[in-house]
Amino acid sequence: MKLLNRTNLYFVLASLVVFCLGGVLFYFLFQLIIDKDFNYRLRERKNYYIETLAHSDSLLYFQKYSANSVEVARTGKFADSTETTSDTVLYDHIEKRLILYRQIAVNKYLNHQYYKIYVRRALVERKDIIEGVILLEVFLFLAFIMVLSLLNNQLSKKIWKPFYVILETINTYKVERPESLHFERDVITEFNELAAAIEKMTSKINQEFYTLKSFSENASHETQTPLAIIKNKLEVLMQSPGLLEEQMGMIDTALTAANRLSKLNEALLILSRIENRQFHNLEAININERINYHLATFDELIRMKGIRVKKEFHDILEVKMNSFLADILLENLVVNAIKHNAQAGSIIITIRRDGFEFANTGETLQEDPSRFFERFVKSNPKSTSLGLGLSIVKAISDTYHLTVRYTFSRNYHYIGVHI
């Protein structure tokens, strides 16, 4: 639920109470005004009848046509001439029902004659007033809600704009992007505070991220020289005459480990350089050509494993990217398809206008495919592979906004790269 709707809900509930109270007050006020006006008119009528009666007594004969509105009768002598106002219910012959009247009863001595005069008027029924008030209230309430929501919509667009800008920016925020976040200042203090807090936080995150990154990069760099020394010394040592088999084995193991370490280092360095966007020169790379080239490089390996390679190049695909990265990408995919292939298996490489795909036979993998492109995830934990090949493929694809997907079906592993 949006914050605005939430506040609006309370707003509406509160105004409902106010409108109800207002309705009651309205009713009484209405009643009061009507009453006052009614009484005034009734008195006026009374005066008129008295006036008429003073000139002639014809009213006595006409009153029967006036329904219940006037009643005049000759009476005997009476003591007082007081006037009483009261409400009474009488039967209306025209409407044929009981109706509430207000009447003024007055005793009057006119032209040597004593009269009793009732002047009546049908009262506005309470039911009608209530109906009117409710109708009015409902109309006002609806109008109020409509205006409120219209206003809120506009307000939310205008006032909440900086908030949505901030939200959008945070959503698309990437820690590896070098530029720190900056928001335009608004008139609203809370949003400015939020913007300032987020700017501060992200710049701190950025800083930490880069410190960490440069630390790991420097660490990798600094490791290269000692590694080179270890490797070279072992290489020299291994040329010494008269080494025992056991010693040779140890030298070889040490050398293999040092090699692995330096490969790992290189791979991590490459990854961080890709992520830091340090490869700039873009060229149109002919994917068909490069795949053919890498297949040729590993041709003997392919033949040794008895792998059949089927090329389904439907189109010539050119992608604008750095040639070095393109080669790393394609080489990794070729090596991957050979390495994880079965003996006498097959590789199918498909190239279409919108991308290319490597399919290779091989064992069913235990690993969750979604984790495939993560670093150090290996299908076989015992394998000496670094588990970085596909991370590099992913990193390069991401750099050029290519989507890379792994699927497995009918004994084939598919890795597709699409524009």
Partner: protein, 241 residues
Amino acid sequence: MKTLELREDHSLLLDAMKILLVEDEEALLSSARTYLKSEGYICEEASTFAEGLEKINLYEYDCVVADIGLPGGSGLKLVQELKSKRPETGIIVISARNSLEDKITGLDVGADDYLTKPFHLSELNARLKSLLRRRKFRGNREIIFHEIKIVPDTLQVWVNDQALTLTRKEFDLLVYFIANKNKVLTKESIVEHLWGDYIDSVNSFDFIYNHVSNMRKKLIAAGAHDYVHTVYGMGYKFLDA
């Protein structure tokens, strides 16, 4: 100009070749020196930019191997200097960074070859030999090893004047073996030499065994001596005997 000796078996000797190694890391310098000296080169060393500059100004070398990151200046500057003063000298640059830009700049300013640290000494040796062969013996680029004759330009191999068909990788392997004869070559160094320094290596070295044994069988079948020896636990050795 040094005189080139021709041995009975017609292989060109590189004994007289003078190499300058410019590298600030003493430990690396000493292992390279040991390895190259055992190959018969005359090695001189410099550990700073200034020292390197002084030496290339004073002496003549057949080849200079220079690290790019040097105290006191870039090895690339040294390359430029050398190129203008002594264009006949072969140059190999070495960089700690596996960076394409360094490679391009290195080759642009006139280096003949490029190696990334860490590298195998056998690889450095093979690159040096190939470079010296290209630069020094223009008219005679053949590699002759006893009864084996190799023409790198045309990728041809003869055993006792009988042509031998090798695959590209077998050919490269043979050249690599002969360049590092009498040295133990690890499977890793062979893989890297043949397939390059790719990131996530295939790492199964069984196929190296297949490769070596295929090449060996072909050589023996053509009447060559069996020079390839397996060194238990480590790799192979091409014995000059």
